[in-house]
């Protein structure tokens, strides 16, 4: 029911490096977007500014096209779910969920009906008489969600709502939040520092760092085309391998040369990278682009001196170095492939999704975009 737009928004805390600077972004009506970034990057500040809980230093915040800079939080009709859940400890679940409607003066029957409906939706019906202190973490999280839903707000702002849940519950709630969004169709901004949440939940990700917006786009597109080394490293675990070296001309093509390896640049990128020939660059390749066997045209063999193997169960991560190179490289391989620390193994790098970054500021060097891997379905 609401589009949200930020124009040149800044929030500066006097005498502090925190805050956000010159943020421009817009969220369409009904969209589910993610604000992703490490702690202290300003994503929660931005969220609170949109909710009206913090005044902004400069710029405009628009909801449905209207500037709301000076509109009180209660008049923005936006619901916030806080990381701490912020349940009212002196009220039971019913009262917590009904509070917003009662403040708006809804009639008693309507309140009761809506609270019951939301409680049903979230499986909270048997808990209505309990105080928050008598609830488990997951139940509190649901009550916080229910309190937001009951009010039927224009938009939901979720501030790391899953970070206090254990791994299994977090995975369940990820799905449930997406399901709820699909059902309710409300604009949702979800703030997180978890790359799995970012990849799986939203229509678009906004990646922030040090108070600035670094990159935005659909998750898989950002994953496939990181704007700089920060995004490349942050959006995956293990992070994208980044190796310093030099771009050299080999015959009529280009290659990336570093200690212990010489990797041919795929023909499709040669034109784009031609200007960087002879210069130092940072080469980036994700750990899942290493394979145990050659895989198509753009596979290049590499020798990895294995230093550690992390056997996760479903897959094995090999960590090691290219011969003599200073940087560690990690390769994600199937659980059927392993090695011992100290061994040297030959792996094949699929270079189609490779990236080059400038060594000065870590920005990606433009090249033809890789399509996100998602819909290339083959049985």
């Amino acid at each position: 029911m609401a589009s949200i737009e930020l124009r040149q928004v800044s929030k500066i805390y006097p005498g502090s490096a925190a805050g956000v600077k010159d943020i421009d972004l817009s969220v369409a009506d009904g969209e589910f977007v993610i604000f992703l970034g490490p702690s202290g990057c300003g994503k929660s500040t931005l969220l609170r500014s949109i909710a009206g809980l913090e005044s902004i230093t400069a710029g405009d915040i628009l909801i449905n096209g209207e500037i709301v800079n000076h509109v009180a939080p209660r008049d923005r009709n936006i619901a916030v779910v806080f990381q701490s859940y912020a349940l009212y400890p002196h009220m039971n679940v019913w009262q917590n969920m009904a509070f917003g409607l009662r403040m708006r003066g809804s009639p008693a029957e309507e309140i009761d009906a809506k609270v019951k409906e939301a409680a049903e939706l979230l499986g909270l019906t048997p808990l209505m008489q309990r105080r928050p202190s008598a609830l488990s973490g997951g139940q509190r999280q649901r009550v916080a969600l229910g309190r937001a839903i009951v009010r039927d707000p224009q938009a939901f702002l979720l501030d790391e709502p899953l970070s206090n849940l254990d791994a299994q519950l977090r995975a369940e709630m990820r799905l449930e939040l997406v399901r709820l969004h699909r059902k309710l169709g409300r604009t949702t901004i979800h703030v997180t520092h978890d790359q799995v949440e970012a990849m799986t939940m939203g229509d678009r990700i906004f990646i922030m760092k040090d108070g600035r917006l670094i990159q935005q786009g659909p998750p898989l597109e950002v994953y496939a085309n990181p704007a700089d080394t920060f995004v490349a490293g942050f959006l995956a675990s293990p992070p994208m391998n980044l190796v310093s070296g030099r771009l050299v001309e080999v015959g009529d093509g280009l290659a990336f040369r570093t200690d212990g390896a010489m990797l041919p640049i795929p023909a499709a990128f040669r034109a784009a990278y031609a200007a960087w020939a002879g210069k130092p660059v940072i080469f980036g390749l994700r750990s899942e682009d290493f394979h145990a066997a050659p895989n198509g045209d753009s596979s290049a063999p590499l020798t990895l001196q294995v230093e550690a193997v992390e056997a996760l169960g479903p897959e094995n991560i090999l960590i090691g170095r290219l011969a003599g190179a200073p940087t560690q490289v990690s390769a994600r391989l199937s659980r059927h492939y392993s090695a011992q620390p100290g061994e040297s193994v030959t792996l094949y790098a699929d270079l189609t999704p490779m990236h080059l970054f400038t060594p000065e500021d870590g920005k990606a060097i433009p090249r033809p975009r890789a399509a996100p891997a998602l819909l290339r379905r083959h049985a």
Binding site: P73, R74, Q83, S84, L87, P89, R151
Partner: protein, 265 residues
């Protein structure tokens, strides 16, 4: 053997702490004439209490103390709460403001007694419970504000933010969320203020008359003119502590009942 010595020492320490109050209780319950007897319990008698409530008009003083102590807390708490909240949440006045609150606590009471007397006299409020109540309220405010400040700082600001997005004003969030959640803190502060007012002697002596005296003044009067009437003093001390013990036990349960925050852990 070592353990035996240790335990004997510990019991001795416990006895040292507990015996004096128990002896006061014992003395209050034996006749005045046997008060100094070395017998543990020579004879049971309520004569001290009867004398206090009959001849010594302790009933009136008791009522006076309750009115003054309760009244001063009721007046002081709202001001102290507003002040403590402002310091805790909005950093009003910054560090210097906080220091100012504490420094109000530093004024030597003895330097305030006569000015207070002068002011009350001009308002014709000496020898009245109203005057003493106002003075106690004024004395209580900075101390209670200081205590409540700490309590308010422990309440996550998220709760207020949640209320504000839920449709309240900042004032509504304070009134509907912060205050109810702070009830244990308010109760604790109230009890402390009550105790301070209940026990206060100097201002009570100067600002009250024979009919408006409070318990401490009445207790003092038992210890002066005709020597110390130790039985009655003991009974008076027991009576003086009684409501404090009752209040604290009640409050203690209230505090322990624990409105733990519904947020994480």
């Amino acid at each position: 053997m070592r353990h035996f010595g240790l335990h004997a020492g510990l019991w001795l320490a416990v006895a040292l702490i507990l015996l004096p109050p128990l002896w006061v209780l014992r003395t209050s319950l034996v006749p005045e004439s046997m008060a100094y007897s070395t017998d543990v319990f020579p004879a049971f008698s309520l004569e001290n209490y009867q004398s206090l409530f009959g001849q010594k008009r302790f009933g009136t003083f008791y009522l006076n103390s309750i009115i003054v102590a309760l009244g001063s807390v009721i007046i002081a708490l709202p001001f102290a709460a507003a002040m403590g909240y402002a310091f805790a949440r909005f950093q009003t006045g910054g560090r210097f403001g906080r220091f100012l609150v504490l420094s109000l606590q530093m004024l030597p009471p003895v330097a305030l007694v006569l000015p207070a007397f002068a002011i009350l006299r001009s308002m014709e409020l000496t020898q009245s419970l109203t005057g003493l109540t106002i003075v106690y309220a004024a004395l209580n405010i900075p101390f209670l504000a200081w205590i409540l400040m700490g309590f308010f700082e422990g309440i996550p600001v998220d709760l207020e933010w949640a209320a504000m997005t839920d449709g309240t004003t900042a004032w509504g969030a304070f009134w509907r969320i912060v205050l109810p959640v702070s009830l244990p803190g308010l109760a604790a502060a109230g009890v402390l203020g009550f105790i301070l007012s209940w026990n206060e002697f100097l201002f009570a002596l100067v600002l009250t008359g024979s009919k408006t005296a409070t318990i401490p003044v009445a207790l003092a009067s038992l210890q002066t003119s005709n020597g110390i009437q130790i039985g009655k003093v003991s009974a008076g001390v027991v009576l003086a502590i009684l409501p404090l013990i009752i209040a604290s036990r009640f409050i203690q349960r209230f505090i322990v009942q624990g409105l733990t925050f519904g947020s994480v852990k």
